[in-house]
Symmetry: C2
Subunit: 323 residues, 2 copies
């Protein structure tokens, strides 16, 4: 059973039709006037046994904050649940707390951790963060893109994939920035929440791959995206990787589908483009316009002016649940 089947068949009935659960189909839930997002990271699945405890503290905050700001909200408080093992021990725990602290200061405006639970585990460590966010205006939903909306992206794609591969193949020097992104993901500025809140029709943070996650913005199966590969921002290291391994369709598809990017992806009405650029410039946040929402039954990836129908291709990093 994969994660989506498990959610649909087993956990959705436990929402007892509560409106705030939003059908368990969004990144966040709504509760009174706040939104809530939660992410669990498991050793050997979401990070490596070799990754420092400091970096996983950083990562835990960043991957959760990215969910909240992508919905046009500010993070306001968090809950921490950790199951820690003897291998990382007390020394690792101190480093982990330092990683959390630095990330809270760097990316979350000192969002307070107001509670949690600490347990020990004889196995891979498990760390969860549950964040409360305050929407600036209304909550920006997922499946709500409009016909002809522009698809907007907040930053580079693909570094986490390259970083993880480099770590596994000991190419540490060649891809140092990508490795850094894998371990301490760069996320948009907090203030992007203002932009998204004001202009976005639909929005999410990219955690399971750009091409798969972009599908989730579509309101129905009669709408699809047309994304222009040349407009997607890539770091120098990702370009180098593609040059090294082949700039072919297959490599491009895999690079855009891996996930762990944690950038905001959202759609806006084209009339708002210039105002949005001005607002983004004022906070020094880059926004890239990578494609459009079309009335069409197939998602398209355009590479060097050739339109590839990628409807039947795998385009998400699948978190297979119980295999």
């Amino acid at each position: 059973m994969n994660e989506f089947d498990a959610i649909e068949s087993l956990f959705l009935p436990l929402s007892f039709n509560h409106e705030g659960a939003m059908g368990l189909k969004d990144d966040v839930a709504q509760f009174n006037d706040i939104i809530i997002s939660t992410d669990t990271l498991v050793e050997n699945t979401h990070f490596r046994k070799e990754d420092s405890s400091y970096s996983i503290g950083q990562k835990l905050i960043r991957v959760n904050v990215s969910d909240i700001i992508a919905k046009g909200a500010f993070p306001i408080a968090g809950f921490l649940n950790i199951s820690w093992n003897n291998e990382r021990g007390d020394k690792g725990l101190v480093e982990f707390a330092n990683g959390l602290k630095d990330a809270l200061i760097e990316c979350a405006n000192k969002m307070p951790i107001i509670g949690g639970d600490t347990t020990k585990i004889d196995g891979p460590i498990v760390i969860s963060l549950t964040i409360f966010g305050k929407p600036i205006n209304k909550l920006v939903k997922r499946h709500n893109a409009k016909t002809n909306d522009l698809i907007c992206l907040s930053g580079n794609i693909g570094d986490a994939k390259i970083g993880l591969e480099a770590l596994n193949n000991a190419e540490n020097i060649e891809f140092a920035n990508a490795i850094s992104h894998y371990q301490t993901p760069k996320i948009p500025k907090l203030q992007i929440a203002n932009i998204i809140s004001k202009y976005a029709n639909s929005s999410l943070d990219i955690s399971d791959g750009l091409l798969g996650d972009a599908m989730k913005l579509m309101p129905d199966s009669f709408h699809n995206y047309e994304i222009d590969f040349e407009k997607i921002p890539l770091s120098d290291e990702v370009k180098k990787y593609l040059e090294k391994n082949g700039y072919d369709f297959d490599n491009i598809l895999k690079t855009l589908s891996f996930g762990d990017d944690y950038q905001s992806l959202f759609t806006i009405d084209e009339v708002n483009k210039n105002d949005l650029i001005e607002m983004a410039n004022s906070i020094s946040q880059k926004i890239y316009f990578i494609g459009k929402v079309r009335k069409s039954d197939k998602p398209i990836l355009k590479i060097a002016n050739v339109k590839h129908d990628i409807g039947d291709l795998p385009k998400s990093y699948s978190h297979n649940f119980t295999a």
Copy 2:
């Protein structure tokens, strides 16, 4: 480093002095007009590998709901984070969801699960629930007992300890009810929240042992409890266990200190005793008056009219954190 040291030295600084964190010293945090409680259960620590997936679903809900009602609040929504393994697999996941569902209906007035995260783990499974509760009136805090308050308890103590021992020693038939309590803890009725909200000066749910947790109700080191062993309700099986193993001070102390009881423990002004009894009767909830809060520098356990100073004895099940 034990759990308390880790919280004090590493995680308290991450609360950035947020008032709702309450110094990370209570069972719950406060956020706007809601309270939040979270508990993580780890396989081989909080439940056995052999325990059914159904029973751990039941347990996860019950141990969390008991936190909320003990604070004079009703559970209103929950978040679920699970890391599941292949050993329990899809079949176990379905049973787990059934356990959650039945417990939500039986003990939590169909509190909706409105979000969460599902991951897989190659190791012991980890399950967390974060519950939002709505205080009926004000939040009832922990360290707030008054001089001469009566100490009130909602039900039997010691069954979880006997049940776990019986499971480990294959005495399944002799202690069937205790085993059932270990696997599917009996918790007070939801409506006990009304009683606690109305009358309690201090309150918590007993998870780390009656005698240790009772210390946490005391406002300062000049106040202590005097608890009368004969007034503590014990099941027939716990009595049988004590008869079998010796009704001596050591066995009594261990039975009252193990934890996993999940009953409400709270203190009230004696003038409210009769009103409280009337209210408890009206919802068929038993309340036992097991002792008093005294101006004294030593906690006392009275057994057969002999006062034992238990100040220096271990009286809590210690969740040692990283050992």
